[in-house]
């Protein structure tokens, strides 16, 4: 108990902060911060598995998040029949071509010795394959994008409940991680960072511009929800009675019937959106707890010890007969898959998929700040980092506004400097993140909750 005191204290402070937001701002804001904190926590757990357990640096988190989001679209949107009949055949042909190309290249790699001729012929194969694929796909893509471009213009998905996409998103991200890992994991740490960053940009470019698959920058809106809709809730009897019961003290004070009814309506509208957010919180909490249990078990298992051994001394682990390359690839896939889950959760919560919003600042570097600040190698630390940094990210603007007003209290309201500072309040969050990261790196390099290894 005493050992875990700092963990409990840190989490209680975090909870108190969120509850304070609920009391002073509104429960709606508090719950949306809480939900995003949970999603960030899943992302940091993924990054923490790669960085904290194995020491692999992955700056491609944005790409895996976006793939998870894409999974949400592909799973939940109803299929667009006209598009399938117009261009589905061409697209399927293309898929077969890609599969055939990969198989041929694999065959060549396996059966011929490494030589210049082999490398050039593979390059020639890839180039001619790409040209062939383009020619096959072009008419299909154009046909698909022409069908009702304002509403669909893409193939649609499978029309399944969106919850499934959380698992599928993990598979998507894991698949990408397999390819990236095969290509890039042999690189030195900082090269790996740059390579993964650039690969994630390529993924985003593809998602943004392949309209037949993702609608690109036209966005996909109105995705299905795992939670009830506010409008439906507001007209459901049991929900209205629930709100009435919950606020009976407040409502009983109002004697006038019509006033009371108006107040009740207001409460129901507020209550419905809080209720929906609570549903999401419950779902996300389940995911976080399951992942936490699994990752904790893994951390203290023989496998976890092996990963730490590989992280701390690769050569020694190799000499002990551990397959470093294979384990690196495995952990890279696992971590990315968890990030993929988070990406699908994010799109599920928002109900829309906006490829244009995936930016490295928000989805890669911010997650890294969370991992470093929270404590790499410690799952509780990583989750706490997700909570604390996201909380600060959202509340930075009000805090900055307060500070500016405090320090410029002597100036008149129309002073140019004061107006300029108040206008640029949103950018103080970058300043806070940067300073926070620098201070933590300098004075507490292991994070708020450092990794602790129990040797039994």
């Amino acid at each position: 108990m005493r050992k875990n005191l700092n963990v409990i204290a840190a989490y209680s402070i975090m909870m108190v902060l969120i509850i304070l937001v609920g009391i002073f701002q509104s429960w709606n804001i508090a719950l949306s911060i809480f939900n995003m904190c949970l999603i960030s926590a899943v992302m940091t757990m993924g990054a923490n598995i790669q960085w904290g357990y194995a020491g692999l640096i992955n700056f491609g988190i944005m790409g895996y998040t976006a793939l998870g989001g894409l999974a949400a679209v592909i799973i939940s949107v109803d299929p667009v029949q006209e598009a399938w009949s117009a261009g589905g055949f061409d697209i399927l042909m293309c898929v077969w071509l890609i599969v055939a190309l990969v198989l041929i290249i694999r065959f060549i790699l396996k059966n011929f010795q490494n030589s210049k001729v082999r490398n050039y012929s593979i390059a020639a194969l890839i180039v001619s394959g790409i040209i062939l694929i383009r020619f096959t796909a072009e008419p299909g893509i154009e046909a698909i994008e022409d069908i009702n471009p304002a509403k669909t213009g893409f193939l649609g998905g499978f029309g399944l409940p969106i919850i499934f996409s959380w698992i599928v998103g993990a598979f998507f991200a894991g698949g990408l991680a397999f390819i990236v890992g095969k290509v890039a994991l042999g690189l030195r740490a900082d090269y790996l960072a740059i390579a993964t960053l650039l690969i994630s940009e390529i993924v985003i470019a593809i998602i943004k511009h392949e309209d037949w698959l993702t609608r690109g920058v036209k966005n996909v809106i109105g995705l299905k929800r795992p939670a009830p809709y506010e409008v439906d809730l507001q007209s459901t009897d049991w929900f209205i009675t629930l709100v009435e019961k919950f606020n009976s003290g407040k409502l009983n004070l109002i004697s006038n019937f019509s006033d009371r009814q108006a107040e009740l309506n207001q409460l129901v509208i507020e209550g419905s959106s809080v209720f929906v957010k609570l549903c999401y919180s419950g779902l996300f909490l389940i995911v976080v707890i399951i992942l936490l249990i699994i990752t904790q078990k893994a951390l203290y298992s023989p496998w976890g010890r092996m990963m730490r051994a590989i992280r701390d001394n690769e050569e020694a682990a190799n000499a002990m007969g551990k397959n470093v390359v294979k384990q690196h690839l495995l952990i890279f896939i696992l971590g990315s898959a968890i990030v993929g889950i988070a990406g699908a959760m994010l799109v599920t919560q928002d109900g829309l998929f906006t490829p244009g919003s995936y930016r490295p600042m928000r989805y890669t570097f911010l997650i890294w700040v969370m991992v470093i600040v929270g404590g790499s190698g410690n799952n509780f630390g990583a989750i706490l980092g997700g909570f604390a940094v996201w909380f600060l990210w959202i509340e930075a603007a009000p805090i900055a506004l307060f500070l500016i007003n405090f320090f410029t209290a002597g100036m008149s309201e129309s002073h140019a400097l004061k107006i300029h500072l108040i206008e640029s309040v949103p950018y103080f969050r970058f300043l806070m993140m940067g300073l926070g990261l620098l201070l933590i790196m300098r004075y507490r390099p292991k994070g708020i909750l450092p990794e602790k290894i129990e040797i039994k």
């Binding site: 960053l197 650039l198 940009e201």
Partner: protein, 336 residues
Amino acid sequence: MDILNALILLLNYIFIPALTYGSQLALGAIFVTLIYGILRFANFATGDMMSFGTMVTILFTWYFQSLGISLGVLPTALIAIPFGILFMIIYMLSIDKFVFKYYRVNKSPPVQFAMVSIGVMFVTQAVVRIIIGPSDQRFFDGEKFIIKAREFKEMTGLNEGLALKSTQVITVLVTIVLVSLLFWFLNKTKTGKSMKAYSDNEDLALLSGIDPKKIVMITWIIAGILATIGGALYGLDKSFKPFTYFNNMLPIFAAAIVGGIGNPFGAFLGGYVIAFSEIFLTYAYKKFFMYILPESMEPESLVQLLSTDYKFAVSFSILVIVLLYRPSGIFKGKVL
């Protein structure tokens, strides 16, 4: 005549823009490579440092414009650049003193340096956005074109026009001068040689009496010059927007790695490799083929290898290929 038209077309839409863009990338890539070769870390704050230098330049340009100082046909920004460089160097040296020095003294691993540079990136980004705001700023003045497309057509009687912007000429000229000065400095002067020695083998260099503090300071000064000029030229040619500068970090990294990181000459060429391949692969050659092929063979489609949306993806794919086959870059060999 048709062949001439086709050549002018390529010159106007591929060669000149790629040369300009390549020069801007090359300056940034040399900056990355110098930091990597001597201070030994990948600087993720590259793009934002460039935007900081450009921001100071813009502020001084506006100040000079308000005073009524101008260079006539040349952009006023050229007089403002030295002030931008000065502020940039002060900023970089103070960051080094307060942030990077601690890790250098402790001999931290490069990964930790990279993380710290992300912190610096956040702070610099905030500073730039708080001071000048996130929106587009144009600060170009003076004569815009050296040759206008219409005048060129009238002069030569060709169908295709050739437009030459003054910023393009300035960019290429300044890059040539700056890079030759830099190579002269690195190869001929004593300080430059000691920098090379330091980058080659730190311990040996220290043994032979090279002062590491001086080396680090000079590296940051050169980096400040390169970052400010590179950023200001990009801003003059296109426009200044903090987010674009952050994004430019990616092709700059690609250029530095393609050229062999730690090798300034490689970085210089890498900038052009990235720029030319981006523009070559995403240009629609329809018009070009219309000029050189007989009418019966004219292409129906745009004859575009990749859509322009994949501009960035091209440079990154080149990088991935280079990393796979030659992790030390095309121009590997001695460091710095």
